[in-house]
């Protein structure tokens, strides 16, 4: 339901502009007038929060690049200089570093919102796939950004992650090594490596921005999903214009989220990082315990859960790759898990498995930790590949409101000047 444009240019200039490059019309249609379901809950505010954080990361990142030197001999010192001497340098760096963490907090909530309410289902498959691409680009960007600090954790994270490609040696002898050396530009992680990581770290956020544009475009063709998972039938009754209703709500949610953000920036700026990254990179000494940033821990746990090198790498990439296919793995005709009595439990099991994998990723891969990581890794894949297709077929959804209007105007009374549906319709199944 790509909605009809209601834009009316009022001045001579806007009329002139509208017949040449209708950007004002586009902004009006997408930001101000876009008909948005009235029943969205606060889980729908993370899209706006994420957009804000992308902007914040780009602005602080451009500023940090003014003070950073991508040279292995001085990279670490240039950041210490920034922290101690550059005016507000500490604020720029902590905002950027904590901002990356908050970006992932928001994106994980956004992804699980989509999983719970079935926002990936027809007609929003492309919207979902672009979202997974954004997530992949975010992973690459944050990994590269972390490497630029050139502390011990930075260096060894680059070493370990780039070495993942050497697992291809077990398929074609020498191929993996050739790829790794191509990535490094040397026989070890070196100055050449740091420079290309910096170049790409500066590039990728703009790729993300482009993908976000496509994501919003793809969102605005079918419009927002909503908690009951039913399409808009009667936008006049069931939707409100994005502005001022959702701009105000999103700004309120953003403000609340920024309180959390500010708490970390000003009181716990290094809490989410690792102390070893304040030790300059030393290629001859591996830290006793290498851990990635917290937002990669579940994937790290999956990597280490598999006892074969190539197998671990395949499992780790597949854990994200499988997300591309879930619009087709989920066989249920019901979008929202709110009306899916069986699937709902499996959803929460998945959420628990992901949190547990995050915890296990921070622990050494031995004993009970390893066994638990294997169990949760198995569940992660079983959830998507087996449970999703089967539960969708065997489950009988609970009764749900036939339309959004039924859900929000229940009781049969008058609401917002619109006639509400009779109460009986609320229990009726489609």
């Amino acid at each position: 339901m790509a909605h009809q444009s209601n834009y009316q240019p009022k001045t001579a200039f806007t009329r002139w502009m509208d017949s040449r490059l209708p950007v004002i019309r586009m902004a009006y249609d997408t930001i101000l007038d876009f008909p948005t379901p009235r029943n969205l809950n606060y889980m729908w505010t993370f899209g706006g929060i994420l957009t804000f954080f992308l902007g914040l990361q780009i602005i602080t990142g451009v500023i940090l690049a003014m003070h950073y030197t991508a040279d292995t001999s001085v990279a670490f010192d240039s950041i210490e200089y920034l922290m101690r001497n550059v005016n507000y340098g500490w604020l720029m760096r902590y905002t950027h570093a904590v901002g990356a963490s908050m970006f992932f907090v928001a994106v994980y909530l956004h992804i699980f919102r989509g999983l719970y309410y079935g926002s990936y289902k027809a007609p929003r498959e492309i919207l979902w796939i672009i979202g997974v691409l954004i997530f992949l680009a975010m992973i690459a960007t944050s990994f590269m950004g972390y490497s630029l600090v050139w502390g011990q954790m930075s260096f060894w994270a680059v070493t370990v992650i780039t070495n993942l490609f050497s697992s291809l040696d077990s398929i074609v002898n020498g191929l993996g090594t050739a790829i790794v050396q191509w990535i490094w530009g040397d026989f070890s992680v070196s100055d050449a490596t740091l420079n290309r990581l910096f170049s790409l770290h500066y590039l990728l956020p703009f790729v993300i921005a482009g993908l976000v544009g496509l994501h919003i475009w793809a969102l605005h063709v079918p419009g927002n999903n909503n908690p009951i998972g039913v399409d808009l039938r009667d936008p006049k009754r069931e939707a409100v214009p994005f502005h001022p209703y959702y701009t105000a709500k999103d700004l309120f949610a953003l403000t609340a989220f920024l309180l959390l953000f500010a708490y970390f920036v000003f009181y716990l700026p290094d809490y989410l990082g690792h102390a070893d990254n304040y030790i300059k990179a030393n290629p001859l000494q591996t830290p006793p315990h290498i851990v990635p940033e917290w937002y990669f821990l579940p994937f790290y746990a999956i990597l280490r859960a598999i006892p074969s090198k190539l197998g671990g790498v395949i499992a780790m990439f597949s854990s994200i790759g499988v997300l591309f296919f879930i619009p087709w793995l989920d066989t249920s005709s019901e979008r929202s898990a709110r009306y899916r009595p069986i699937y709902k439990w499996f959803f929460w099991l998945l959420a628990i498995a992901c949190v547990a994998l995050g915890y296990l990723g921070s622990k050494p891969p031995e004993g009970g930790y390893l066994v638990a990581a294997r169990i949760f890794t198995a569940y992660y894949f079983i959830h998507f590949l087996i449970i999703m297709p089967i539960v969708g077929v065997i489950e009988t959804p609970k009764p749900r409101p036939r339309t959004i209007a039924d859900a929000i105007f229940k009781g049969g009374g008058q609401a917002s000047g619109y006639a509400a549906q009779p109460a009986a319709a609320a229990a009726e199944k489609r």
Partner: protein, 191 residues
Amino acid sequence: MATTMDDPVTRRDFIHIAATAFAGVGAAAALWPLIDQMNPDATALSLGSVEIDLAPVQEGQAITVVWRGKPIFVRNRTPKEVEEAKAVPIDELKDPIARVMGLTGEEPATDQNLTKGGHEKWLIAIGICTHLGCIPKGQKPGDERGEYGGWFCPCHGSQYDTAGRIRKGPAPRNLEIPPYQFESDTKIKIG
């Protein structure tokens, strides 16, 4: 050249296909410099070599030197460690191949193939875990050396024996042996 309806393949079709194919080959060729610029350059490729004086390394001790930006483990093994390394049957190994730079990749990972004749007590290996590139522990006297007395990788728990062979853990291969020669009984040249 006249064409008729009976002859659907025209001279123009041929020119189109040939031109497109040629442009495609040209575009692919133009792409190569953009990819190859990322490969190690001549400076990195020039092997370089380092000479190491082995005299100060006492029996049972080990030192780490740098060659090509990589740590090289130099270990003076005790006679007991050498005997243990020699006694391991090849079919017990996780990776039965001697990963020696310059060898064909067919030789079995016997202790003999991993060291130089007459200098069996010296094990010279690239100190990079073949799993994900961490530096295994075991060079310093107090380090954890794993169940096989060689090296223990702290990252993901791979364990190597005194001949640098992978025995346990996720690493797929034995430690790599760099090219080196004995210049004298107490001096080697790597590279």
